[in-house]
Symmetry: C2
Subunit: 399 residues, 2 copies
């Protein structure tokens, strides 16, 4: 299959060709499919499993997901759903069989209705849905297939056992390909995505002030890209939650132990989103037409503001790097002290009486972003403490 | 099955018992499952379809989703995936058959690898994933099952045709139960969720100022609930996008035509999220410890601020109601004029010189929320225009 790889490479647009993770994933799926097809392709294997090999293929196609955690979660869900559904299905089929006659079909119908409706209802309960949505679906499927097959074929014990066995084979192949060949971990992605958010917000804060004080020499596009970094942070809640859900299923690997504090990551993410919302207001405020148009006015507040903004950005980068490398940053108390000091300097430099001497609207506009900046400092202080807590929980190493 | 309903009712916690939509959904799934099980339960039907009835059951379990749009989208995806996968599978199997001998198995393996990897890759491309993720999965599944079955059973044309037929039966039952029995429309949900966001933000704005000026008599919990309405708006992006995706699949029904402008709803949602981010900063600003603690200072700005806040809330409610009832609101230009007038009054009432006479920090704090309020007025003006555009596109009726 040397030709295969080359064909795929030449077919892909060059821009996305370099996203090797996605390409690797596709090749892994292809490999897993070929492996599971061996159940059909090799005569001696086919004699063992027969038509049930179908269930192994189905398992591979349906369970194989991009990240190891997602694959594990789906596979275990499928396993639990199949065992529960199969077990209850066999029980219900035996019960219906005892009734016999035309009562059997009616009993089967009633069972199908009750269990189908109840399991569908459970899929709508958020807490349950979050972890076992797929398992409940497989439960309904297996239960129904087993109980109705019981009407036609009395050897349902064998049927259920054989299917479970082949599903197990499919699952084993998925686990092999997903966890052992270049695994993609949701935990890694969550970890680095949280760390990168610090950098994005830091860039946005700097970008806003650079633009405001006119100290930019870049092209328009680049500024906009830097400024808009925080918007991806604002909308990241659901993505973070999905990653954390899968990260919890992932076993010990690399730098993460079994009980890595993923909840703390979500809390930090939440705090980062609050900070991003403030950055959003800050950008709006700085870009507002109500800001003073005269350059000299702006220059009079430039120094303390830029000092504050660059300290904020610097602190954020430090915190992000601390998470990224899993190394302790400066103690939270020290960071807070530093921020407080600069905040005081800012508030002394820009006194309200000075603002009063500006034009009416100008004064309000400048006062407003100074205030927003101070609010952001408070938020970064909270962040620093949370990162320190994460360091304690996850045993970040010292400098 | 009188006992069924009662059993389910008594098992459910009383709080969620009243969510009749979810209960209805469960009963609909139960009904669909019983209907599709008839393929096994009724002898004359079973003689027609045989073991392939399994595929009909599988289709119902997998395709039946909460809303009509989601069911349609999954069903059509399954149909397209099955036809494409089956067709290509038959072709590939015939091609491999021509080779014959041990080359046949190798050719099958290569086909499985190429098509599996290519389809998996396509599932990672966002634009494709959004609409055809499930279809691609079913394509891989059907292609594999058909091509490997071809090795063992030379009647794969019949096999593919029979499976497609039974999947069609399953799909028809889903469509019947989902679209004709108490249908749940994603389009309805998107419509009312967008409308309710206006009310949530309006409540939050009023709540913030009521709390600030100390004119609240409610219990703490109630205030917090009112204040926090906007947070659900902030995190609504992914939910809105999913609803819009399904709404596009839904056929003409009720008040929505075939080409209802769902994109406009998403744009309005985006604008509402921006407004929610500003509300977030406004709440932070008003709850900040930097705000003046003296009551007399607050009272001096109370009147113009409350007038502005209540006009904002009132405008938002009006716009929300206009969408809710699909009736034209006041023309955007009129709303804008009214907002501009009140904004001017506010800016005259709170001049910077007056702020300068306040204490240093107090002045900055008050100036800041006045500025934020003005920025919010700008956003509401944009919203009013967008709602007017929606009204034009979706033919809202006149008063």
């Amino acid at each position: 299959p040397k030709i295969t790889k080359r064909t795929i490479f030449s077919l892909l647009p060059s821009k996305i060709m370099y996203d090797t993770r996605q390409l690797t994933h596709s090749l892994k799926v292809g490999t897993a499919l070929v492996l599971v097809s061996l159940l059909y392709l090799v005569d001696s294997l086919y004699e063992q499993v027969g038509e049930n090999a179908m269930w192994a293929i189905m398992t591979v196609v349906v369970v194989f997901e991009f990240s190891a955690g997602a694959t594990l979660s789906k596979g275990l869900n499928r396993g639990i759903g199949t065992i529960l559904g199969g077990g209850l299905g066999v029980l219900a089929a035996t019960l219906a069989d005892q009734i016999g006659g035309s009562g059997e079909a009616i009993a089967v119908g009633i069972f199908v209705f009750i269990f189908g409706a109840a399991a569908s209802y459970s899929r709508l309960i958020p807490a349950f849905k979050n972890f076992f949505d797929y398992g409940a679906m497989i439960f309904i499927l297996t239960f129904n297939l087993v109980i109705v097959s019981g009407l036609r074929d009395k050897k349902i014990f064998d049927l259920a056992r054989d299917r479970l066995l082949t599903i197990g084979i499919g699952f084993a192949i998925c686990i092999f390909a997903s966890l052992l060949i270049f695994p993609v971990w949701s935990s890694d992605e969550l970890h680095s995505s949280i760390a990168s958010k610090f950098h994005k917000i830091a860039c946005s804060i700097e970008g806003c002030f650079d633009e405001y004080f006119g100290s930019v020499n870049e092209k328009d596009n680049q500024i906009t890209a830097r400024l808009d970094g925080f918007t991806s942070v604002l909308d990241s809640k659901s993505k973070d939650e999905i990653l954390a859900k899968f990260a919890r299923w992932e076993p010990w690997h690399g730098k993460f132990g079994f009980y890595h504090p993923w909840d703390k990551y979500l809390q930090i993410g939440e705090q980062l989103r609050e900070l991003a919302a403030s950055t959003f207001s800050l950008r709006d405020c700085l870009q507002s037409p109500r800001q003073p148009s005269s350059k000299s006015l702006k220059l009079s507040v430039k120094e303390p503001c830029e000092a504050m903004a660059s300290l904020l950005a610097c602190t954020l980068r430090e915190l992000g790097q601390s998470i990224e490398n899993m190394k302790e940053s400066k103690p939270g108390a020290l960071i807070v002290a530093q921020l407080q000091k600069t905040k005081l300097e800012l508030s002394v430099a820009i006194s309200a009486s000075k603002l009063g001497s500006l034009g009416k609207d100008d004064g309000i506009a400048v006062a407003s972003f100074v205030f927003l900046l101070m609010e952001m400092v408070d938020k970064v202080e909270v962040l620093a403490k949370k990162v320190e807590q994460l360091g304690d929980l996850a045993n970040f190493t010292c400098h």
